[in-house]
Symmetry: C2
């Protein structure tokens, strides 16, 4: 059956209206033209091409994030942890003896989001977690493909455990950050490290093979991810098997241990199937897993500026609050 | 923004392949031609036309359900409860003093599914619940539109509580049955009856106004619900407001009380947004709600015959097992 391409469902061209029951802000976001065709991917050996593309996209993302980050009252300390740059972001008013840490792995398709973007993403995660957050500025391709990014995330988790009880640590990330957060848990577990208290995987890129149904059904509906990401996935994998659980954690063996996990996606999200399948896989392995789907939302929600995004922040906050040991 | 029809997303025609990671049975189901255009709806006053259409569709559904129902070892007693026919279905081996009852409200778009279909649907719900099940053969349009169907469901719930602790009762249903199950809880609550221990709403038709995004995005992808159901909804409502919470429970006020609820849909399901929005609404009201989405599934899953359907049965079974008082 796998090679019988006659069994396709032909869906005619359609005009999909903006759902009028969403907030005005969400409707406005969905009424914008799609972000446009992703620029043509450079060839895999064109490092300069990848860096140039990343620079443009990082600048766009930072421009969107900076005003939101500026409203969140935090102290940020630049630290280097076992050779890896980490932004330690502490909400103003955090008790000095509060042992809790959220380990935040930034998104950006595994090629973008370092430096100031990593810092801003870490800060905008604070409303979801309410605790001190370590935002990991991991290395990335084209200079440092797999396994370097995952090595960095695991190194920081290992260092964190030197003076933190794992029950005081929750690991999470959005999009590519959801990939690395889940992969670091699998690898840390395989290396004998204890599990964190929980995981938060928002619209996670847990399948670099892009086998889920929504990679087809939501293509053209998702106004943020307007194309599949295979060129970037191949750049990241650097010849390693895309289906290995450290690259596509969806295919991990969760019966060997995985912490309680919150998963999110949107109904128009190219990664809807990623979240849905990860949820089913965890449940099948007996791992508590909580799926939350945002009506009408593309990848990443509504730019973080709609009431629906705040709703998600509150739901995540309740989830993490229930999973700290204290 | 609500009347600005320029903000549509134009999605070109597409060929959507069958996901090859699904079970062979699920792939086979998705490879069938869609069930076809729903036959033209009769006019609202053409009772004979509706009955004729229902007879044809009931026969098809019964033919599909009967072989599965025949494999499930139960005793069935025909009872009349406060004037309403009820099939009392008891799994063979149930302890005589087991007080638990699952109140099953059958599906069928609010016009189909009575008699032998109701009985067969009740029997095939047994693997999901494992307990004695009361399958309510409620009246339906065209002879008995709203509020008659809901009246019957509420009457049976009220009668059940005469000699059952509400903590021994779980209410549920699929599709139109999910509508009536949720509506009966809202109305019973408003009438001062105690809440059941939990609710199970599978791919529920909780919004007769059909305002959700998936009524557009999944139209043409869902091979079971191949059209919207507005003519039937209008027949059912008989002039009552489609948006009233007793007709569209999605719009209920859940802060006034609603039991822990399991919700399910498929990623290709015309009712995906129904389930997603009900889940969000319950969570916002502080009601424990558990969302489970089946990858690639149209409305109703994979005809109940794929391993993915069994997986869902097991997940529902775990949910109900956790919510009985004993």
């Amino acid at each position: 059956m796998t090679d019988d391409s006659s069994h396709v469902r032909h869906v005619p061209a359609r005009d999909i209206p903006v759902p009028t029951h969403l907030s005005p802000e969400a409707q406005a976001m969905l009424s914008l033209p799609p972000l446009g065709e992703a620029p043509e991917s450079p060839s895999l050996d064109d490092k300069e091409g990848w860096w140039a593309r990343t620079a443009v996209q990082d600048e766009m993302v930072l421009a969107a994030l900076a005003p939101r980050a500026a409203k969140i009252d935090v102290d940020v300390e630049d630290r280097v942890v076992d050779g890896v740059p980490v932004f330690v972001i502490t909400p103003r008013g955090t008790a000095a003896d509060d042992p809790r840490v959220f380990l935040d792995i930034h998104g950006g398709a595994l090629v973008m989001g370092s430096g100031a973007v990593c810092r801003a993403m870490g800060i905008t995660s604070i409303p979801r977690t309410g605790v001190a957050t370590w935002a990991v500025d991991y290395r990335m391709p084209p200079s440092d493909p797999y396994p370097a990014p995952l090595d960095d995330c695991v190194a920081v988790y290992r260092a964190l455990l030197e003076d933190h009880d794992p029950r005081d640590v929750i690991v999470g990330g959005s999009s590519a950050g959801g990939n690395l957060a889940a992969a670091l848990i699998l690898r840390a577990r395989d290396e004998g490290l204890p599990l964190p208290a929980a995981a938060v995987l928002l619209t996670p890129e847990v399948d670099l093979t892009e086998s889920g149904d929504s990679f087809h059904t939501n293509l053209g509906l998702d106004s943020v991810l307007t194309a599949r990401l295979m060129p970037t996935n191949l750049l990241y994998a650097d010849g390693h098997d895309l289906a290995h659980p450290y690259l596509s954690p969806l295919f991990g063996d969760f019966t060997k241990g995985f912490p309680p996990t919150f998963l999110q996606a949107g109904t128009r999200d190219l990664f809807l199937s990623n979240a849905v399948r990860m949820h089913v896989a965890l449940r099948e392995a007996g791992v508590p897993a909580d799926l939350y789907v945002l009506e009408g939302a593309p990848h990443g929600g509504f730019f973080g500026t709609a009431p629906e995004d705040d709703q998600l922040d509150r739901v995540v906050r309740r989830f993490v609050d229930e999973h700290w040991r204290t």
